[in-house]
Symmetry: C2
Subunit: 150 residues, 2 copies
DNA sequence: CTTTGTGCAAACACTTTGCAAGTCC
DNA sequence: GGACTTGCAAAGTGTTTGCACAAAG
C-alpha cells in the first residue's frame, strides 16, 4: 500500500490537485476498508487519526477522488453509497439484439450489479465475462417498443 | 386497473388498514407510472388530482403499501427510490458453480440490476431468463476463497 | 364511537455552499 | 506569493415525527 501512495500523489498532482494530509488520510481509510466502504465508515476511521477533519472535507475529497478516477463509488440499497479504490478489472458486455452493437459495461456499473447480488442473495458472481442481451439506446425507440412485463 | 382496486382494498383492510381516498389516489398514481416511479413523480401525479395531499402522507402511504406487499421499491443510482405495484414477472437465476445450487433472483433484485444498466448505459435488457454463475453463500467460504480481482 | 389516517409544522439527518484562514508547492 | 484546501457555520434537500382534527369502519 505504501508504494502505491506515490502513484496517488502523482495522479492528484497531475490533476492540479494538492496532496494534503487530510487527503492522504482519507485515501488510507478507503484502502483500509477491504472493498466497499461507506461514507460513515471512512469518516469514523479518519477521525481516529485526526478528529478535526470535517465532514465537508470528506465530501469534497471523495468528489475529487472520483473525478480524477482514484476512487469509484457505487450505490447500494437504502441510499447507502460505498467507495473504493479504483483498479483495472475483467470486462463485461451489453450486446444489442437489434443492431449488434457491443457496449462495454463500466467497472462501476458491474460493481453495483455484483454488490446487489452479494447483498441480496449472498451470492458471489464468478463470471469473468458476462454478456447481456437487450436493446441499446438507439434501438429502444425504433424497435417494437414493447413495454410489456419486463 | 379498476377491478384490481377491489383487491387492493381487500389487502389494505386485511392488514387493519383503511381505504382512504388519498391511498387510492396514490396507488393509482403508482400504477399510472408504467414500471418504476419515483417519489417525486408520484407526488406530482397525486397533487394533480388533490393538491392538498401532504408529502408526509405519501411517505407514510408508501411505507404502508410496502409493508403489506402491495408495492415494491427499488433503489436506483443517486439515492433515488422507485416504486411499483408488486406482481409476478419473468425469473432469473443464480447458479452455484461449486454445488450446483440454483437461486431464484427476486423481482426487486433484478429490477435494481436492470435499472443500473438502463441508467448508466441507456441499455434495456431484454433477456427473459438470465443465468449468472458464481459461488453461493455456503460455497464462498469452502471454496478457494480467491479474493483476487473480482 | 373507536381507531386509524391526514395535514400542518417542527424536528432530523444528510449534503452542499460561502468564506476567511491556513497550506501546499 | 498564488492557488488550492480546510474548517466552520449557514443554507439546502429529503425524510420523519408529534399532535389535533377529520374520516373510515
Amino acid at each position: 500500500m505504501t508504494h502505491q501512495k506515490l502513484e496517488y500523489e502523482a495522479i492528484i498532482r497531475s490533476h492540479g490537485g494538492r496532496v494534503t494530509p487530510q487527503r492522504v488520510l482519507i485515501l488510507d481509510a478507503i484502502c483500509a476498508g477491504e472493498g466497499h466502504t461507506t461514507f460513515g465508515e471512512i469518516l469514523t476511521r479518519v477521525k481516529l487519526t485526526d478528529p478535526s477533519i470535517d465532514r465537508s472535507t470528506l465530501y469534497r475529497a471523495l468528489d475529487f477522488f472520483e473525478e480524477v478516477g482514484l476512487v469509484v463509488s457505487a450505490e447500494i440499497g437504502k441510499g447507502e453509497k460505498v467507495y473504493e479504490i479504483a483498479r483495472q478489472k475483467p470486462h463485461h458486455h451489453l450486446v444489442c439484439q437489434s443492431c449488434g452493437r457491443e457496449i462495454e459495461i463500466g467497472q462501476q456499473t458491474m460493481r453495483q450489479v455484483f454488490d446487489i447480488f452479494q447483498r441480496q442473495h449472498h451470492f458471489q458472481i464468478g463470471m469473468k465475462h458476462i454478456v447481456l442481451l437487450g436493446l441499446c439506446e438507439d434501438c429502444q425507440s425504433g424497435e417494437t417498443e414493447s413495454p410489456g412485463p419486463m
